[in-house]
Structures are given as structure tokens and as C-alpha cells.
């Protein structure tokens, strides 16, 4: 069985410009996605994410390089493998109801109406759209429209799913629901998911691995856990009893002191364990009572910025 659901090899794309040198959108891009994996495709605006996703969908023809879907290099059969939500809630027909949208997209995939009856029912049920099935899409809330767009991609029943900013503009609860559902799609249904998002919390929460693109080049391809390990710093949060106003001056740069009610919270990043013990000794000498000490996990957003800034993973 083919290990990779999706494999991009040596993908290059330059957009020609009138009387100017062309713009390199993709430069020798190589990455793959395993079956059942959720891969985050990250990068700043104009990095080449959109071009890469459109190439995978067959909407843009690369200049050179190949894309394989379960080991097959195909130009005409992409729809058998890939479905996508590229424009969030704009990917659906606003004049059609939720049910009619699902029926239309199933038909567009060449599926008979009778074969998708149960699936439509399940999707409406899973996304809490059952009582809105006869409501035109334009009258649904943004969250519901986003869910419906995902449902329309799922009804096509392809093994690979491309999602661009799937939680953009959603409230916390809906975003949480959708994240959980996307995770389940990979874990339980074995779907391979390629996700592009600027929300690092979403990426950290649901992606197994990330590929970071900048100026058309892949600059990092690694698991979320390993990236967090590589960029791990000795950062601590120390809770102190009492209010200690003069502490920030005594501790110097790199220390953040937060005083609230009768407690002081100290957040710091230290270069080694000796620095940590020195800090604890200093607090003891000043008779400051320590309430708790917590190790801080590196923030994925910071990791992303560090990688883009040129730090090596």
C-alpha cells in the first residue's frame, strides 16, 4: 500500500509578468502527507501556500515537478482523490438550502441521490444542521455556513481534504467543535488533511506535522511536537505571595512581573539551570515566599516567527 496520500516533488511555478521578471511562487517544493495525517501548511501572506494548494487541486498547472495522489500522477482524475474548502463559507450556493447544497455537490461528484441519502443525514446531524436543512444557505450564520461548506466537501467522499482557514471568523465554541470534528476525520475516518491557517492555536491543536513555506521555498517540515522541543526554552512562571513592586528593577531585563491583589507573578526565560537556582536564592534572601513554580511551554506562534526569522529547527 502506498505510504503517502499526497506527494509533491520538485514543484516549481513562476508567474510571468509583462516586461518584468516573473514572480517565483514555488521553488523546488517537496513535501508529502501520509495517510490519515493532518498537515499544516503555513507561511506568511504571499509565501506560496495558495499556489501549492491550487496546484494540488489541479486549478494551477505547475511549470515543472509532479504531484502524486496515492502514488498516481494524474492530471484528469484529481477529483477522485481531492475535495477542498478553499473559500470557507463562499464555497456553497447561497440560494440553495443546506440539504440542496449537499445533494448538488454529491451529484457533482457523480454520486447517485439514493447512495448519499444516509450520508447527507449524517452530515446534517453531525454539524447540528438538521433543523436548518430547509433554510437557504444565505440565511445561516457564518459558523453554520462554514460547517455546511465542510459538509459539501465531505459528501464527495474523497480520501484527501484540503482546508483553507477552516475556522476563520468563527466563535470560540464553533471553532472548537470544528477542530474536534476535523481531528476525528483523520483519526476515525482515515482522511488525509492538508490545512492552511494563520491561527497557530488551531495548527498546534490539530496538526500532526507542519510545513512552513516562505518566498516559495519549504523552510521547515517537521512534527509539531519536535518543533516545540527544538525551540524549547527554560521559561518559568513563579507565583509569589505578597506584592513585590521593586522586584522588576532588582531582576533586570527579560523578567516580567505581574502584580494582582496580594500576589505577584514572575515570568522569565533563563539560559540555564544555574540562573534558575540563582533566582530562587535571591528570592529567599529577600524573604519572598514562593507559592508555585511552573515550566512554560513554548508558544507555537513564537516558534513560527522564529522559523520565519531564520532560526533553524
Amino acid at each position: 500500500m502506498e505510504r503517502f496520500a499526497l506527494e509533491l516533488k520538485g514543484l516549481n511555478k513562476t508567474y510571468p509578468q509583462w516586461r518584468k521578471p516573473g514572480v517565483d511562487a514555488l521553488v523546488d517544493v517537496n513535501f508529502s502527507v501520509c495517510r490519515g495525517e493532518i498537515l499544516g501548511l503555513l507561511g506568511p501572506n504571499g509565501a506560496g501556500k495558495t499556489t501549492a494548494i491550487k496546484c494540488i487541486c489541479g486549478l494551477i498547472l505547475p511549470d515543472t515537478g509532479t504531484i502524486s495522489y496515492f502514488g498516481h500522477e494524474t492530471a484528469n482524475g484529481i477529483a477522485r482523490y481531492v475535495s477542498a474548502v478553499l473559500e470557507g463559507n463562499r464555497n456553497i450556493y447561497w440560494r440553495l438550502t443546506s440539504r440542496e447544497n449537499l445533494e448538488f455537490f454529491a451529484g457533482l461528484q457523480g454520486l447517485s441521490p439514493s447512495s448519499v441519502k444516509t450520508k447527507i443525514h449524517d452530515i446534517l446531524d453531525n454539524f447540528d444542521l438538521t433543523d436548518k436543512e430547509d433554510v437557504p444557505a444565505r440565511k445561516l450564520s457564518r459558523g453554520m455556513q462554514q460547517k455546511l461548506a465542510l459538509g459539501c466537501a465531505l459528501i464527495r467522499d474523497t480520501p484527501i481534504l484540503l482546508l483553507d482557514e477552516p475556522t476563520l471568523g468563527l466563535d470560540v465554541e464553533t471553532s472548537f467543535d470544528l477542530r474536534r470534528y476535523i481531528k476525528n476525520l483523520a483519526k476515525e475516518d482515515g482522511k488525509t488533511i492538508l490545512l492552511s491557517s494563520h491561527d497557530m492555536n488551531v495548527v498546534e491543536d490539530i496538526c500532526d506535522r507542519v510545513v512552513i513555506i516562505d518566498h516559495g521555498c519549504v523552510i521547515t517540515d517537521d512534527t509539531v511536537e519536535r518543533l516545540k522541543g527544538v525551540f524549547k526554552v527554560q521559561a518559568y512562571e513563579i507565583g509569589l505571595h505578597g506584592r513585590h513592586r521593586n522586584l522588576e528593577r532588582a531582576l533586570g531585563d527579560g523578567m516580567e512581573v505581574d502584580i494582582r491583589d496580594s500576589r505577584t507573578t514572575l515570568r522569565c526565560q533563563l539560559k540555564d539551570s544555574t540562573a534558575f537556582y540563582n533566582l530562587v536564592d535571591m528570592l529567599k534572601k529577600r524573604n519572598i515566599e514562593i507559592d508555585y513554580i511552573k515550566t512554560l511551554e513554548p508558544n507555537f506562534e513564537e516558534i513560527f516567527i522564529k522559523v520565519l526569522g531564520g532560526e533553524r529547527a
Binding site: 494551477i60 475535495s83 440560494r95 440542496e100 455537490f105 457533482l108 461528484q109 457523480g110 447517485s112 459539501c152
Partner: protein, 255 residues
């Protein structure tokens, strides 16, 4: 079978939207009827001959029919791109060219009913009754093929250049000239070669002159068939080329 289900989905969507926006459709037809009445009674007041008036009825109905078919291929691509659904159509296992063809076919049946009703209303309103030979449906279908060919080319241009509304408007008026050309000449290479004109000439012969469809010479139908097929095939091929250009330049859709 896959194409059949895609076709069924397209026809169903077409009917749903038509039904849901029935008021808009009725008002559109009413507006067209008012425009027709102005043209017809204007011609009548200038003392136009009966045959000219009846040709005007046929020409006007054909023009509406041509525009509706043309719009299905050209304007709708712009609308899909604007709405963000064009990429989804491209993600179907059936090619976008075929999907567009099915849409034209779906609109053909619906427009037949609408234009049929419109024609009856025009005949009743003007008191000029035309020969409604069922064979006209075949002539209409063949004429639509050449219109579709032009629609495909415009659709392809819409994919590449996006802003083609002005050109689309020009084509709507060009159709008037092409449809009215048989009023100036009965036969001739120009009619055989140009799109739409020969179809319009044959439809006029049946509906205005009263020639039964079966009495038309097989050659005249063969010319229409070859003309329509040539325009359709050329349009489809040019669309395919322009689609490839759009894919190379990354111009597909709005995304």
C-alpha cells in the same frame, strides 16, 4: 453513469433556483414583453408588411432564446467566480466544459417552455399567428449549438480576462444583426458561414412562410448541422485552450 448524475444535479439546481425566484423570472419576461410590444407596434405604426411583422416576432423570440443560452455559458462563469463556487465545479470528476454543456442543455429545455409561452403571448397580443411546427425544436436546438460555441469562447475569455462584460454586451447586439440577416438575403454563403443566421433563416421559413419542416431541403438542414457543429466544436476547443492558459497563469476563480 457519472455524467448522468452530474446532469441530473445540474438540472435539479436549475429548476430549484427558477422556482425559488419565480417572481424574478416572471418580471423579467414581463419586461421583455413590454420591450417587444414597443418594437412591434413601432414597426406597425411605420406601416411594415405582415411578413416583416411576423419576422419581427420570430426574430425577437430567437434573440431572447440566443441571449439566455449565451448567458448560461459566459455570464454564469463570471458569477461562479465572483461567488467562489467556480473552483468547486472544477473539482468535479466531470470536466468543466462538459458541466457547462449540461447547463446549456438544462437551460434549453427550460427556455423552450418560457419562450414558447412568450411566443404565444406575443401572437395573442399582436393578432399575428405563426406556424408552430414541432420540427422547429430541432432547428432551435441546432441554432443553439452555434450560440453555445460562441458562448464557450466568451466563457474561456471570461476565465482569462475576468472583465469581459463589455464584450458580452456587444455580442448581445451582434446576435440581433446575425438573426436579422435573413431578412436582407434569402440564401448565400454568408448565411451558411456565419453563426445563428442560417438557423434563423430556416426557422423563419417554417414559422413565417409556413413551409413545413419536413418540406425543407435536406441540404439546407445539413448546412445548418455542419455550421452549428463547427461553431460548437471550435468554441469547445478554444475554451479548452483558454482554460489551460488560465490554469497556467493561476487565474481560475477568485480564491
Amino acid at each position: 453513469m457519472m455524467d448522468f448524475y452530474v446532469f441530473v444535479a445540474i438540472v435539479k439546481k436549475y429548476f430549484i433556483e427558477l422556482k425559488r425566484y419565480a417572481f424574478n423570472t416572471v418580471m423579467m419576461m414581463f419586461g421583455i414583453y413590454i420591450l417587444f410590444a414597443l418594437v412591434f407596434f413601432g414597426l406597425q405604426s411605420f406601416g411594415a408588411a405582415t411578413e416583416t411583422l411576423e419576422s419581427a416576432i420570430v426574430g425577437f423570440a430567437l434573440w431572447i432564446f440566443a441571449i439566455l443560452g449565451f448567458v448560461e455559458l459566459s455570464w454564469s462563469i463570471l458569477e461562479e467566480a465572483r461567488n467562489g463556487t467556480l473552483e468547486q465545479l472544477y473539482l468535479s470528476p466531470v470536466s468543466f466544459g462538459r458541466i457547462s454543456g449540461y447547463r446549456v442543455l438544462a437551460s434549453f429545455f427550460v427556455n423552450m417552455v418560457l419562450i414558447g409561452a412568450f411566443l404565444i403571448a406575443m401572437m395573442v397580443g399582436t393578432g399575428h399567428y405563426l406556424n408552430l411546427d414541432p420540427g422547429v425544436i430541432i432547428l432551435l436546438f441546432l441554432t443553439l449549438l452555434s450560440i453555445s460555441g460562441i458562448g464557450y469562447i466568451m466563457g474561456g475569455l471570461a476565465l482569462v480576462f475576468k472583465k469581459v462584460q463589455a464584450t458580452l454586451n456587444v455580442f448581445q447586439f451582434l446576435f440581433i444583426i446575425l438573426l436579422m440577416l435573413p431578412a436582407v438575403m434569402d440564401e448565400g454563403v454568408i448565411l451558411y458561414v456565419l453563426p445563428v443566421s442560417w438557423g434563423s433563416a430556416l426557422i423563419n421559413r417554417v414559422m413565417v412562410s409556413g413551409t413545413p419542416f419536413l418540406a425543407l431541403s435536406p441540404w439546407s438542414i445539413l448546412i445548418l448541422f455542419v455550421n452549428s457543429l463547427a461553431y460548437f466544436a471550435a468554441g469547445y476547443l478554444i475554451f479548452g485552450y483558454l482554460e489551460r492558459v488560465a490554469k497556467k497563469k493561476g487565474l481560475l476563480g477568485h480564491y
